[in-house]
């Protein structure tokens, strides 16, 4: 018990939290951008899975982790665009289109992996590369913060930067204003001359690219290989975290961190405290549900307050 507390309050623990949080935060930001434009991108899970495999394949093909990442991002953007095409042009229900993409990704990645490597489980026979870990110049010398922040995978820094970038994009740029306007009320947006579909295409592509970052991180940073079904629900957690964070980048960061802390804590508690592991594994989800309940309750209060005025 004592040792569990020592572990949880150590800088190493928070280093792990950042690693665990990274893919979830990418997925959450992806959900944020899409839902702000009025499209519920349930295909995140599938996009992450596709990008994870594409990254592995191309990093091995070009012997370059960077080109692997680039192609992973392109694949994510294309799938995002494809979702946009299904929803905007062909008028499919976004949920159904998303489910279709997820199913296609689950089967398609195995199929592709089999064609390329002859395996259906893991990509261990493909000599794929991993994105580097980096020491942060000045920060690495600061005692506790240095241990937590320095030597993380490059994509962990990218995701933290993305929070700021997406925040600026949504609230400080004309494009962000248009995205929010389209999401809020497409008819009103159209009436002032915004090309609604174009904005939604852009948003859903950005969303796909962000999710692809998360997928590439899983197979080229977190792990050094692709394994069948490795996203294991992280895309869906991203959707929940987005709803809980009120579809804002800062909210996404906070909720994802909360989830990451709960998840890492579960990993440590399992080995140290005598409670059934099934209960420990519920921890991140319980945290999410409780958080969601608190959030919607406070929102309800807010609305009531506004109405009474």
């Amino acid at each position: 018990m004592q040792s569990v507390f020592n572990i949880i309050f150590s800088p190493d623990f928070f280093y792990d939290v950042l690693r665990v949080t990274t893919p979830i935060l990418f997925a959450t930001l992806a959900a944020t951008v899409a839902s702000r434009s009025g499209i519920f991108n349930i295909a995140l899970e599938g996009i992450m899975l596709i990008a994870a495999l594409v990254g592995v394949i191309f990093s091995a093909y070009f012997s370059s982790a960077w080109l692997g990442l680039l192609f992973a991002l392109i694949s994510g953007g294309l799938v995002g665009l494809f979702l946009g095409f299904l929803v905007l042009k062909l008028k499919t229900d976004a949920i159904l289109a998303g489910i279709a993409i997820n199913l296609m990704a689950a089967g398609g990645t195995i199929f592709l992996l089999y064609i390329i490597s002859g395996d259906r489980g893991v990509s261990s026979s493909i000599k794929s590369l991993v994105l580097p870990k980096f020491p942060l110049p000045v920060i690495k010398n600061i005692p506790i913060i240095g241990t937590i922040l320095s030597m993380q995978n490059i994509l962990t820094y990218v995701v933290l930067l993305s929070v700021i970038v997406i925040h600026i994009l949504l609230y400080k740029t004309p494009l962000g204003l248009k995205i929010r306007a389209v999401g809020e009320n497409p008819n009103a947006a159209e009436s002032v001359g915004i090309n609604v579909h174009k904005i939604q295409y852009i948003a859903v592509t950005i969303s796909g690219i962000l999710a692809a970052f998360g997928g590439a991180f899983l197979s080229m940073g977190y792990l050094s290989m692709f394994s069948n079904g490795m996203t294991a629900g992280r895309g869906f957690i991203g959707l929940a975290a987005d709803a809980m964070g009120g579809s804002t980048p800062i909210g996404a960061l906070l909720v994802s961190l909360l989830f990451g802390i709960a998840d890492s804590m579960g990993n440590v508690i399992q080995t140290g405290i005598k409670i059934p592991y099934e209960i420990v594994q519920m921890l991140p989800y319980i945290t999410t549900i409780v958080g969601l309940a608190i959030f919607s309750y406070s929102k309800k209060k807010q609305i009531e307050k506004l109405k009474s005025k």
Binding site: R120, G121, V122, S124, S224, S227, G229, T271, E278, Q281
Partner: protein, 370 residues
């Protein structure tokens, strides 16, 4: 014109029906009728593990017996809704002498289907049926004594973590790891053998136990393994978590520790450089077991309505012996493991099992190495 077309259609239909009927008759007329075996896989081939191994067993049988057998692997995929219908289809077909299926997930479909086709013979591997009161007289099941091979894995892990001559270990603390998928009797059987083997070598050993909660979340498997290696001082872990367990190997590479593989030779699966971190794997030789069952079936000696447990003695389980085992593990330890293997084989050591134990008893065993 329309009428002509419809007549044509009817003719075609009748012909195709007749053709089907004839085909069915032909098989029976053959003088030397081969033993027809359908291998129904609740997954796909190419898993480099169980399913490939069961298919290899039949290939080995085909090589050995030639025309006497005929087999067909059927990939039912992981979509559970397909399993029962496929099982029914192959039973209804009636031309298959033996239907083979495996893993704990196929027990429930078999429980439903097998009694409805009393003349159809089934072989189930890696789990057993409830044969109480003469139930399932048409099912032969094969269990692997994973507890025996885990005993060896545990003994190996305990020796390695206290070894003075190995580079990746801290001999001062006696802590080893175990990463399971979900907690079920088979996984507990692995765990109990592992604990017993480790305690046989080091009475006061500690085993850090984690469960992923599924068999596919590889990143989570890595997180748990990293927590064991870095925060609990584990030098060597044993993964029994399918694809998720491969995360442990990734973690071992990252922090320069050891991992023991499971089911198939994971050093071969992962390849260089990761294989250098995998001193051994606890193998379940599904191929041997299937070959053995088919041989017995051809001789008419396979006893349906019964379960057989294949251990080290029957070649059902073993510790992998490959170049990495030779390279990583010192000679003295390898000799000792071989000796322990002999002792289990001749019954000198009887390894405890999770089958027939209450959850409380299993919990007590786990708590004894906390």
């Amino acid at each position: 014109m329309k009428r002509l077309l419809s007549i044509l259609m009817i003719v075609v239909l009748i012909f195709s029906l007749v053709a089907c009927g004839e085909k069915g008759g032909e098989v029976g007329e053959n003088g030397e009728k081969p033993l027809k075996i359908a291998l129904l896989l609740n997954g796909t081939l190419g898993d480099k593990s169980f399913f490939d191994s069961s298919n290899r067993g039949l290939e080995m049988a085909k090589e050995k017996f030639g025309d006497k057998i005929e087999f067909k692997p059927v990939e039912m995929t992981t979509d559970e809704t397909k399993w029962k219908p496929t099982l029914y289809d192959y039973c209804d077909d009636g031309s298959w002498d033996v239907i083979i299926a495996g893993t704990w997930q196929m027990v429930e479909p078999l429980e439903e289907v097998a009694p409805k086709y009393p003349d159809q013979k089934f072989i189930l591997f890696d789990d057993t049926m409830n044969y109480d009161g003469g139930a399932f007289p048409n099912v032969y099941s094969i269990l692997f004594k994973q507890n025996e091979v885990s005993f060896l894995a545990g003994a190996l892990a305990a020796r390695i973590t206290t070894s003075e001559d190995m580079e990746k270990v801290n001999p001062a603390d006696k802590i080893i790891g175990f990463l399971g998928g979900t907690e079920n009797t088979t996984i507990d059987d692995f765990l109990i053998g592992y604990i017993e083997g480790a305690k046989y070598i080091e009475e006061d050993i500690k085993v850090v136990i984690s469960f992923v909660g599924n068999f596919y979340d590889t990143p989570k498997g890595k997180d748990l393994a990293l927590a064991q290696y870095q925060q609990n001082g584990v030098d060597i872990g044993f993964n029994v978590a399918g694809l998720a367990g491969l995360g442990q190997i990734d973690a071992a590479v990252d922090v320069d520790k050891y991992a023991i593989g499971v089911d198939s030779d994971q050093a071969v699966i992962m390849g260089e450089p990761k294989a250098n971190y995998i001193p051994a794997s606890a193998l379940k030789n599904v191929d041997n077991a299937i070959l053995r069952a088919v041989s017995l079936e051809l001789e008419g000696k396979l006893e349906y309505g019964k379960n057989e447990s294949l251990g080290i003695k029957e070649g059902g389980v073993a510790i992998s012996d490959n170049e990495y085992y030779q390279k990583i593990v010192p000679q003295t330890i390898r000799d000792e493991i071989a000796e322990l293997s002999d002792k289990i084989e001749n019954g000198e050591i009887k390894v405890d099992t999770a089958f027939g134990k209450t959850p409380q008893e299993i919990q007590d065993i786990k708590d004894s190495v906390r």
